[in-house]
């Protein structure tokens, strides 16, 4: 006998664009849907498009004072010291008041947060919780629907690295990351992939609410292991860049001894870990200031139970 989880229907969904103001696919799509909502409307569900960081969108920068996608922790969300709060922390509290409160019954059911990367990650779905069967089932549905186009899943559950993402206020937070696309640029191919992911996500929710049962499934994910820093000199300047053999090789295996960096005086620096890893976010523009050259992951498989909705409509 197999277990089956019976879950409440999804009532409220938000689609966030512009959490990073220079990642233009989400900004463009959300602005479009704010005017033309038909495409994202599904019967019986409130689907709300929303620009999360309008100050950064206006200036076409990642953020104004601080990264909005890292401030949704309880400390920032509860901080009442109004005078000294950064633009993004104020904004986070406002977003939490509309779509949260984080961790409460009143929070939105699903938030789809739209991002771009300069890395060669293709269509990527970001999972925050390996026990979230509903989201695993959704990702499985999206992956199947996107095929033959690859769609990778990144699991950011980690004992030490805490993200405190904008979407984390929802019961089911979903990151959508599509690349490669330079900051401040809109590419038609990237836009199309992102748009299809959202269509499939909303279709899944629609089927689920309609009473369709999703059978147990397994999902291949890449689980975050660690971040790798750039080599730097005493002045803090980068002394090496991503090696050509690693550039654009997101999700492909990196073995001990494989080239990782190229120094400006022409030397190769090899990866010295003790096992095969799968790098991602390789050479992401926004991560230079975080001193992250790439993120290592390991491949693993998640299993989700069957799910269906409590009261089919």
């Amino acid at each position: 006998m197999t277990a089956r989880r019976v879950l409440n229907p999804v009532q409220r969904v938000a689609i966030f664009g512009g959490t990073h103001g220079n990642e233009l696919s989400g900004v463009f799509l959300v602005n479009h849907w704010l005017k033309h909502g038909e495409e994202i409307a599904r019967p019986g569900i409130e689907v709300r498009p929303f620009i999360t960081n309008p100050g950064a969108v206006e200036k076409c920068v990642r953020y104004v004072d601080t990264d909005l996608n890292r401030v949704f922790d309880s400390e920032n969300l509860r901080n009442e010291n109004n005078l000294n709060l950064s633009y993004e922390v104020k904004r986070a509290q406002y977003i939490n008041s509309i779509f949260g409160p984080k961790g409460s019954e009143d929070a939105y059911d699903v938030i789809l947060d739209l991002h771009n990367t300069t890395s060669h990650m293709g269509a990527t779905l970001i999972l925050e919780d390996s026990k979230d069967d509903f989201t695993i089932q959704m990702f499985n549905y999206i992956k199947t629907s996107m095929a033959p186009l690859a769609c990778s899943v990144l699991l950011i559950e980690h004992p030490r690295l805490k993200y405190a993402t904008t979407r984390s206020i929802a019961k089911h937070p979903i990151g959508v990351e599509v690349g490669p696309q330079p900051q401040g640029v809109l590419r038609a191919d990237v836009l199309d992939k992102m748009r299809r992911i959202i269509k499939h996500a909303l279709d899944f929710i629609n089927y689920f609410n309609d009473g369709k049962e999703f059978l147990p499934c397994i999902l291949e994910v890449f689980k975050v292991l660690d971040n790798v820093a750039y080599p730097r000199n005493a002045n803090g300047d980068c002394t090496a860049i991503i090696h050509n053999n690693l550039q654009d090789q997101d999700w492909k295996e990196l073995k001990p001894g494989d080239p990782m960096f190229l120094t400006l005086d022409g030397r190769m620096i090899a990866y010295e870990g003790d096992c095969i890893v799968y790098p991602t976010f390789i050479n992401e523009a926004a991560y230079y200031e975080k001193n992250q050259a790439f993120t290592t992951t390991q491949k693993m498989t998640l299993c989700a139970q069957a799910i269906r909705c409590t009261e089919p409509k």
Binding site: C60, P182, Q183, G184, A188, C238, I242, N244, L264, N283
Partner: protein, 310 residues
């Protein structure tokens, strides 16, 4: 047959990075060469290195107050200057004081840029600068990389006169390499740029030592006009570069070819009368300048032979 052009020997050469602070190939190379300039030494000269916009480099942005590469106008350089001036106007005057007056002692400027467009190796130079054309031609034949094919693009000089940093030099070229996102240093692009700079210095050294460079014919691209994105009444972009035009810099665009696509699936076609060659297609820095791409025409030119004046 056209006569050989004679030019004086090149003594002062400046290699410039970080004119735009988020174009990382030039930024990384200039920073490296400031630490270790040995690579820039040649028999007849040693090139100097300039990090043109250090504050923009530090913040990894194109500029602080205004585009430095549009700040070398006679008007801005000759103004008396006040505290309230933009950072880039002040910086342009500093650079001018160091290397100017314009086009006197500074013989050659190599300014390093990146673009998000698929422009391979683009040599940006001024019309009539036969010396720079020779350098471009030398690189086109001696520094070949099929991943970054070479193109010559003539700089459109605004009506008010020169504004570009490279106009500081008697002769000059900007190396515009792409595609590369802003704020990212790709090894392939950096390695390519480094090879081009080295080969440029070799050319200048050979010239100084008396090598005669024969006359040649070449294609050059000349700007026709700038095309903006379709916009709604609020000025917001309504359509994106068509997937069939994206990454097609320097390829012919014929009347009736798609150039933009809307989210409702509608294509917008090129309705000009003659074939053009678009460049700077989907350049990130040009969104604020309201430029979706720059239309060029391809012309052919004959460049006379070149030799150093003894």
């Amino acid at each position: 047959m056209s006569p050989t052009v004679q030019c004086g020997a090149v003594s002062q050469v400046v290699v410039v990075g970080g004119t735009h602070g988020n174009e990382m190939s030039g930024v990384c190379l200039a920073k490296h060469w400031l630490q270790d300039p040995s690579e820039l030494h040649r028999k007849s000269f040693t090139a100097e290195v300039l990090l043109a916009n250090p504050i923009a480099v530090e913040r990894c942005v194109r500029y602080i107050d205004r585009d430095l590469n549009r700040s070398f106008s006679h008007e801005l350089l000759s103004a008396s200057g006040s505290e309230s001036d933009s950072y880039e106007a002040k910086r342009a005057r500093e650079i001018y004081q160091k290397y100017g007056p314009k086009q006197s002692s500074l013989n050659f400027v190599i300014d390093l840029h990146n673009t998000t467009s698929n422009m391979g190796t683009t040599f940006l130079l001024f019309k009539g600068d036969n010396f720079a054309l020779h350098l471009a031609n030398y690189l086109q034949t001696k520094c070949v990389d099929p991943s970054f094919p070479c193109h010559i693009l003539l700089i459109d000089i605004p009506e008010g006169g020169h504004v570009h940093l490279q106009s500081m030099g008697k002769h000059s070229v900007s190396l515009e390499l792409g595609p590369q996102p802003q704020g990212v240093a790709r090894a392939d692009v950096l390695t390519r740029m480094r090879a081009l700079v080295n080969c440029s210095l070799d050319f200048l050294d050979l010239f100084n030592q008396g090598t005669e460079f024969p006359s040649f014919e070449t294609d050059v691209h000349q700007v026709l006009y700038r095309a903006d994105f379709p916009r709604n009444e609020d000025g917001e972009i309504e359509a994106v570069i068509h997937s069939e035009l994206q990454d097609k810099d320097y390829l012919p665009l014929k009347p009736g070819d798609p150039i933009f696509q809307r989210l409702n699936g509608e294509d917008i076609l090129y309705n000009g009368e003659k074939q053009i060659y678009p460049v700077f297609i989907n350049e990130a820095a040009y969104y604020e300048k309201k430029v979706a791409f720059i239309a060029t025409e391809k012309t052919h030119c004959l460049v006379p032979a070149l030799k150093v004046q003894n």
